[in-house]
Symmetry: C2
Subunit: 344 residues, 2 copies
DNA sequence: TGGTACACTGTGAGCGTTACCGGGATTTTA
DNA sequence: TAAAATCCCGGTAACGCTCACAGTGTACCA
């Protein structure tokens, strides 16, 4: 009895032998290449299924000098936005036959850009989706120098870079929509709880808030601004701080829905009724926000779509390069829309 | 000027040549093998960094007949539980030097177990973490036959299988804690909004509810049960249905926090005050649940830890096998705890 | 009837790395 | 002082596959 514990892989050679053809012919059948007789093809196919043969992706990649793997650099999947993004990326990738190599960068310890680049190169990924929202200074340089010259890269939700493809949501416009709505409802003293200001998306949402105030000729003061970290906790603390330093506040734009939830809770605590004595709007339109009390008015954007688009674009560029054509990846900006519910 | 567009990889051969040693010696240095003079080692190292040489993981895997890749089969990362799990898996994996090959199975179209198995085999993963919560009937057989005999597998949050390692949270006990607390508070007509009953975790939580009712000698009727799908939406609809079919309801156990949120909203709609005329408890303790109105009493469990444990265990088993030892992976069940807040 | 085109198949050389074995130089042991 | 052990290092053969090229046989045309 052979030992079962370690399992010998079935190789293309055995399939070839069993089917009475050469290895090359089997390879041709496997990859759908032309120039193989229908009868032979059928015979090989039947042997393949009978032997449950699975070609080694590794050997294939080595020989062909190209992989079926896409690198994805992201900050995690615990926040709603990134999770949606990754879900879209994942689906489109598997639909198109790509595997994913996920590289999570810890925002707290961002010293391992080098490790990320190393991994991507050593696994020989065919392209990279940079879904990590921050890319500045030395890190940027390191990455750009190591990766971008050699590989197609699509950036997600980032500041537009000259010469790079960036696909993102128009955060600024979305925030503008939200605050514009508050203005339209008659609110005049509108505060903001921002996201981490190191992030581009947080900066953009703040700018949208600014734009809307300016358009309505409303005064703006730093006491109206408070920084959060996307968590409900920070939204709660944020609103308390905001009210303390700017008591005449009559509305607040929370830069995401979780913070809006925290703000709602804080409003209750200080005896403000929403939307009567304080209006709240959020951003993201997470599925739960319709069930907040009151139901949250917020900004909807389709991050899953964004992820899908990124993969499709990368796919296009990779294939173009493989066929020798030179295409530049195109940038794109998706428009969000306002969802009016009860909180404003 | 050479064409920059396509980039030639630096190989071990070039490093060897540059350092004036053989390829084999470079390989030894790279892998930290013994039998290389300190002086030589240093020289090789310096050439490696100077040339920015990155060994090809692919070639390495082919030659060594083993990869640094773990397969993870999951249902996605948009729900809180799975996302936490995957976050834990990801962190522990990178800390231990493993790469991940994520295989998302769409619960709606589960016909592609075969594709998943194929991918795992063809990429030659060293082990598998099965974090997909359902594994029944024919699919189970297919997977077990194709993967388990050859590869170490750890199952997560599943029914204990004879002979397989399962790491999970004691959902039944957690639900028992929650409902027990309701009973202790004097509630007597306790309903449940379950998760999708195809899932083991949902079944377990329902059993815990049953246990607690039985222990308190409370009657139990099918009108007290309603099935949800983990979404806030379904929690909302669920509570409305529950009240319609069982009007004397005075408390409800929602099998996760999102559904609890929906239930809270529905309670408001039908004029029930929580917790006075209706108590609500949830499960999961998502970060937002402390900011629900009222703050949610719920069951806390550490899924991230669970993921980390799974990776560590798999790591252990893989290394044992490589060294020829035979270890069986051990099963484990983590205990959740009750977090009492305002809603009950 | 010869030549040419075409359809099909096989051969050999890699892809970049590690495992196995063997050999020379140096040290240790009896 | 001879023999054995040890330390370094290199050559060669895989690993499983694809690519470029070189065939072989058959059909077609003039």
């Amino acid at each position: 009895m052979a030992k079962v514990n370690h399992w010998r892989r079935i190789t293309i050679r055995e399939v070839a032998h069993e089917a009475g053809v050469s290895v090359q012919t089997v390879s041709r059948v496997l990859n759908g290449h032309p120039d193989v007789a229908e009868k032979t093809r059928a015979r090989v196919q039947s042997v393949v299924t009978r032997l449950r043969y699975r070609p080694s992706g590794i050997a294939r990649s080595l020989a062909a000098q190209s992989t079926q793997m896409l690198g994805v650099v992201a900050s995690g999947f615990q926040l709603f936005g990134p999770a949606q993004l990754l879900a879209g990326i994942e689906r489109q990738a598997t639909e198109l036959g790509w595997h994913l190599m996920l590289q999570i960068v810890d925002p707290a310890a961002p010293a391992d850009y080098d490790r990320v680049a190393s991994n991507l190169i050593s696994q020989n990924v065919a392209g990279v989706i940079w879904a990590y929202p921050e890319l500045t200074g030395e890190r940027e340089r390191a990455f750009h120098q190591q990766i971008e010259p050699h590989l197609p890269v699509i950036f997600l939700s980032m500041q537009a870079q000259p010469g790079s493809a960036v696909i993102s949501v128009d955060n600024r416009h979305g925030a503008w929509l939200a605050v514009q709505h508050l203005v339209g409802c008659g609110y005049r003293r509108i505060g903001i709880i921002t996201g981490p200001m190191a992030l581009w998306s947080a900066q953009q949402r703040r700018l949208g808030w600014q734009d809307a105030l300016a358009a309505a000729h409303l005064p703006r003061h730093s006491r109206q601004v408070v920084e959060g970290d996307w968590s409900a906790e920070s939204g709660h603390a944020g609103l308390l701080r905001l009210i303390a330093q700017f008591p005449s506040l009559d509305a607040v734009f929370a830069s995401n829905d979780q913070m809006a939830l925290g703000a709602l809770k804080a409003a209750e605590r200080v005896g403000r009724r929403v939307p009567d004595t304080l209006a709240v709007v959020g951003f993201d339109d997470i599925p739960e926000s319709a069930f907040f009390r009151p139901a949250l008015t917020t900004v909807h954007h389709d991050l899953m779509d964004l992820g899908r688009l990124a993969v499709r674009e990368l796919h296009r560029v990779i294939h173009a390069r493989r066929e020798g054509r030179t295409t530049t990846a195109t940038s794109l900006m998706l428009q969000p829309r306002l969802v009016v519910r009860e909180s404003a």
